[in-house]
Symmetry: C2
Subunit: 143 residues, 2 copies
């Protein structure tokens, strides 16, 4: 059996020299298992069940650490642009449900060449892009 998402995050965090504390474990657990991007406040609220005295500040600081290690991505939504989601390996983009927020990664390599071409047409050398898809997931379509 492969190690869980949470354990992987923990290992990588520890490997960077950071200490694995109770508040951090709670935060990692929440991020590792969430099906949708989370705001600092959401993480904070959920973390309180696991680490009662946790401070919102710790959530912000841990998110910063995880971001700088590339373990979470900053996700843009039409309303909230301050959410994070666990990183996927490879070049991936997010597909999110507009109803429940459920999100999955998809492979974005296909679009690459096309993006370069569009840039050239306008005299730009394209070096990056922001791509996210929105729609209804299977479950929310049925309701």
């Amino acid at each position: 059996m492969p190690i869980s998402n949470k354990e992987l995050l923990e290992q990588k965090l520890q490997a960077s020299g950071a200490r694995i504390t109770k508040p951090r474990k709670a935060i990692l657990d929440i991020i590792a298992t969430s099906e949708h991007p989370l705001s600092a406040m959401e993480i904070f609220e959920r973390a309180q069940t696991q680490a009662p005295n946790i401070g919102l500040v710790t959530v912000y600081r841990t998110i910063d650490t995880l971001k700088s290690l590339g373990l979470v991505d900053h996700i843009h939504g039409s309303e909230d642009c301050q959410t994070v989601f666990r990183t996927a390996s490879g070049h991936r983009h997010l597909l999110s449900c507009t109803d429940c927020g459920k999100s999955v990664y998809f492979d974005g390599v296909l679009a690459e060449k096309e993006f370069q071409r569009i840039g050239r047409e306008h005299g730009f050398t394209v070096s990056g892009h922001l791509l996210q898809l929105f729609g209804l997931c299977t479950k929310c379509k049925g309701e």
Copy 2:
């Protein structure tokens, strides 16, 4: 000679029932002529030369009005997600220079079908997307 971008914005704003005031004229002028997305603060600072007593609040309120009329788009950047840029007609996406901020719209229809397909693969019905390209513009490449 076709009417200017600014005049077009003014007409549409007025057509919605809103009044054309001095602060609004200043804001429209700035948005209509900007080559890159603007934050409320940037608009505010520039507007002061045209309307000395303008308040930052008015900028926020005018932006809200323009957004709800679909005359400006909310633009996402890697750092600042609170900027606006004039809307383009048709289905368009933004290509922005990472150095000077210069932005141009490009036609995004090509990608549509591909996005639908990706969604289907994951059980989603794709209804929207967020796509922005980043790179260096002609001018900034040379420097």
